[in-house]
Symmetry: C2
């Protein structure tokens, strides 16, 4: 089934705060609790809502170094791609991995404690892979904006 305008209103609220109660949501969009409940449960079932997560303060949990890596593989074979993806997905330091268009193969977002632990990650996990030909690291000096909220049009 499709998401209608009422669903969008609910999603806009939930994106920002997953802890809103059915009562609060129902008051904000002028509807009783029942349809709110049913719509959310339906969207969870359909996979429109993927999950509810907790966002932590990076500094306060001791992971404040964010690095973007451009990775180029040795040879662009299916086997090399698969192997790289399987291994890189396992690393907890890698929070994002994308195949991108342009001058390199993968864009990684890596979060570690500090420069020392990033160096370890780089040397012991990334460089070690035989499929990796080239790594270029961009260090985040300041985080201007970071949100999980998608722009939902009506």
């Amino acid at each position: 089934m499709e998401v209608d305008k009422t669903d969008l209103k609910i999603l806009k609220l939930l994106q920002e705060n997953a802890q809103l109660t059915f009562k609060e949501i129902s008051q904000k969009i002028n509807l009783s609790i029942t349809p709110i409940h049913d719509r959310i449960k339906r969207m969870e079932k359909e996979g429109v809502i993927e999950k509810y997560v907790t966002i932590l303060n990076k500094k306060k949990v001791g992971t404040s170094l964010v690095v973007y890596c451009n990775i180029t593989l040795d040879k662009q074979t299916r086997h090399n791609f698969t192997e790289f993806e399987e291994r890189v997905t396992q690393f907890p330091e890698v929070v994002e991995c994308h195949i991108v268009s342009g001058g390199f193969d993968y864009l990684l977002k890596v979060i570690t404690k500090d420069m020392e632990s990033y160096n370890q990650f780089h040397q012991q996990k990334l460089s070690v892979m035989s499929t990796v030909a080239h790594i270029h690291s961009f260090f985040v000096m300041s985080e201007i904006k970071s949100t999980t909220v998608l722009h939902l049009q009506d």
Copy 2:
């Protein structure tokens, strides 16, 4: 106050699923509900826990084009930085904006409906800014990994 080992156990669980009940958490880490409750409330207050959010399926809400932009400013003056940051932060299409080391000034993550709407964003919002000298767009062709979970060490 510091986060101790028990706090870390709680955070590891909550990062993956913000909807776990106190009861469920207390069972998973062998503690009664009271300390679980108190610790979570304390970490919310201290800002260790920033927020609880809902993650939506990009395809199913009609925002499936992800683009990374490398931006170079005209002149690297404080005024130019401030102006650029203030405007770019407002755009709902921009979900991330970082100042990075290396060959350019800003790294943006932009999410839009499709190539047409990205083109509109690019032409009507990004290029328009007089401070922006150069934009290089990398299009995400495949998302291999994407998580909000930080690697917490014990």
